[in-house]
Symmetry: C2
Subunit: 422 residues, 2 copies
């Protein structure tokens, strides 16, 4: 009987951070694309644009005639159209009324900041130098610390939307920081799952994940080559027996811990051999002494990556100066690889997950500093992945495997394709 | 002190089906849009396109020279580039190995079908008649029933991606059905939350939700107008006291039931009055004897709607013939309202949530037939909502309130804007 091949057969992988599954259909990479093509942004931007509301000394967009300073590296200001505001009333609930669990609402105060990464209109993280990226990290840290002082702020979300396709309305290199009274959904869910993991295994989930991916890497390198049939090399035999019915899987309500082997299975008894397609270390894109960049085993977006600190750091401000420089190094290298992949200014949403600012001491142990990159492109600068129908109603779906994506990125150069031109 | 105004102040609402929050920032509707504009699809399509691989009698895209029949209403066939396949080996796990909870994988077999809604290339649900829509519903039911017979299928996901912006590669009116061995993430999560609700309240969550929205509607109509300060009219005082720290909210790991009033709060003690902005029935778009279409209290997409059966039906095939005609009626009316909203062929992803096919008898009680419409447009035919940076890393976010969206849709005509032209 034929053996299961991760490069050809459909399977789903479990994301332990969000406790959710993603469907992987590798044979579908052969599908011709006849749908929407994005515009390829070929415009050569000037280093200063007099009409840009983020360039130094220009007037901002809010109509109040505010002028930007003539800044030299980064520049932080409050968003002129913030999604959350500091000065609004608090919604108090009438506890004497019966509650309706289907109509739950909370007021959310907060503050929104914009961080210009560079005075130069035509730069991106991908073509900035590491010494130029360090001030961006410093601005993230100082904004986080300033928000930590605010009583009504409990969480700080740092992110960047890059490219028009990602809803970014100005190409000037910039990111945002939304600081809120609530702990947002994604972070709350990650913290919840990391807490359950710690309860069960008495270790940090992401420390373990770094170890899983790098131990494997070290082993594969020591062996010379990965043995395609050894259990540790495949990483596949280490998983549980499948259970495809609701109520028995890791989604089952009564199971607060990571899934264990269920006692029954709906599987037919066909015997197969699980063939190895994922040699160890195959999800690593690049690394340095303090950080590792990889395509997670459970990636949703085609070229999604995660940057993880090797040490257990709860937040950016816990980094020493070497680690900060190493983060600048990793950011330059992954964004440069992204640009080189399809020879375009590669769009993405990127953000930092770290400890909330609400002063909960348990977060020092629970949070593990990491960044997510969610890029939309699939095949080229103009063909993106649509997370639509089945993905919205059913389950996230991807075509190429995370290992294939990691290999493509690992094969990219860390010298920017445009640097020969400049 | 100023009172809390749901039309101006940021708040977040809880989605009990997915157990997740969405941030609502109504004041942000004033933000000018300087970003990406989509192409407005102004092409007038012919009713038959010789190059369309879905039109009757034409040759399909798979290179195997298959020819479509000269079909009269609907036409169902197996997807030429399926995301899941029937004939692939089953992945067996080696239970003698220690499992790594961070590398979990399951094989997924299945089948993918395409359903052409009409032989006419230029039609959509929005300009089909109700008698023309009934065969579409019949095709959904017969495909579901056929898959129910297959041992390796446990769930059937029916959906439609409409419009190039939603990843649809062919404008010929069609939908898809992906039938899988696993119960996909979204359905599994909904079932889990509906099970917890039933455990606690001994009722069906969506039966209760229909009652909440329609009782309120009946009450508001009986009163003549909604009293903006009465607790039942606002629907807001029925909610719990806020708790913004992880570990105390409905996301807390130890709380398997819908949230109750917590004993402590991190809120400052500022006193406010919660002002009413949501008169009862204000989320209903249209209804008939069997179905109700509304913008859910917790909607994420700007003009997201849900179609719910009034009766507790577990699946489409449980409908009697009146209910089937009523579903055709509601589908025509909501899609027509959508087209009229921005006078364009309104893009969306839409799908049916109903009982899985895995034969689990508890689903008869747990599942409540409903459809979700997820449309991307925000301001016009060319400006969409981007669910990007903060949404991907933090929390879903919307600007206009669900009540404002419902009013816009309720104000739209049910006569198609193009029908005067034809
Ligand atoms: O199957 P299609 O229509 O070619 O593809 C479309 O719908 C699928 C199911 O939602 C998505 O996975 C694809 O990204 C999208 O382009
Ligand atoms: O704040 P911006 O850059 O104008 O807006 C962009 O990022 C926000 C945060 O991810 C999103 O809510 C918007 O939909 C997007 O267009």
């Amino acid at each position: 009987s034929p053996s299961f091949d991760f490069n050809h057969h459909s399977h789903r992988r479990f994301n332990p951070l969000t406790h959710s599954w993603v469907l992987c259909s590798p044979h579908r990479t052969q599908r011709p694309w006849q749908g929407k093509q994005e515009d390829d942004d070929l415009s050569k931007r000037p280093s200063y644009d007099p009409s840009c509301y983020l360039c130094p000394s220009n007037t901002r967009a809010n109509g109040a005639h505010l002028q930007n300073p003539d800044y030299a590296d980064t520049f932080v200001f409050e968003n002129d159209f913030p999604a959350v505001q500091q000065n609004q009333p608090v919604l108090l609930h009438d506890n004497s009324q019966d509650e309706n669990p289907l109509l739950q609402v909370e007021s959310v105060r907060g503050q929104c900041h914009v961080i210009c990464f560079s005075p130069q209109h035509d730069k991106t993280l991908a073509d900035m130098t590491e010494p130029e990226i360090v001030p961006v990290i410093d601005a993230w840290i100082s904004t986080y610390k300033a928000m930590q002082q605010q009583d009504h702020i409990n969480h700080v979300q740092i992110f960047e939307n890059k490219g028009a396709i990602m809803g970014c309305s100005n190409p000037h290199p910039h990111g945002q920081v939304w600081s809120t009274e609530d702990i947002p959904q994604e972070t709350a869910v990650e913290l919840e799952n990391m807490a359950k993991y710690r309860q069960r295994y008495h270790r940090c989930m992401l420390c373990d994940y770094v170890k899983t991916e790098t131990d494997a890497d070290r082993k594969a390198k020591a062996d010379g080559s990965a043995d395609p049939l050894s259990p540790t090399a495949t990483g596949m035999d280490e998983t549980r027996t499948s259970s495809h019915t609701a109520g028995t899987g890791p989604l089952a309500g009564s199971d607060p811990t990571p899934p264990t082997t269920p006692t029954s299975t709906t599987f037919p008894s066909t015997k197969t051999v699980s063939a190895a397609t994922t040699p160890d270390g195959s999800r690593i894109v690049c690394e340095n002494a303090s950080f590792i960049c990889l395509v997670p085993f459970w990636a949703t977006w085609p070229f999604e990556t995660m940057v993880l600190s090797r040490a257990h750091l709860a937040r950016l401000s816990d980094m020493n100066s070497t680690q900060k420089q190493d983060l600048a190094n990793i950011l330059r290298r992954i964004t440069c690889r992204y640009d080189n992949l399809f020879r375009c200014s590669f769009p993405y949403s990127m953000g930092v997950h770290q400890a909330p600012t609400n002063g909960d001491a348990s977060h020092q142990e629970l949070s593990h500093l990491h960044l997510h990159f969610y890029p939309p492109l699939l095949r080229s600068a103009t063909v993106k992945k649509f997370l639509v129908g089945f993905e919205l109603l059913g389950q996230s779906q991807r075509d190429l495997t995370p290992e294939q994506a990691a290999k493509r990125l690992a094969d990219c150069s860390e010298t920017h394709y445009k640097s020969a031109v400049y």
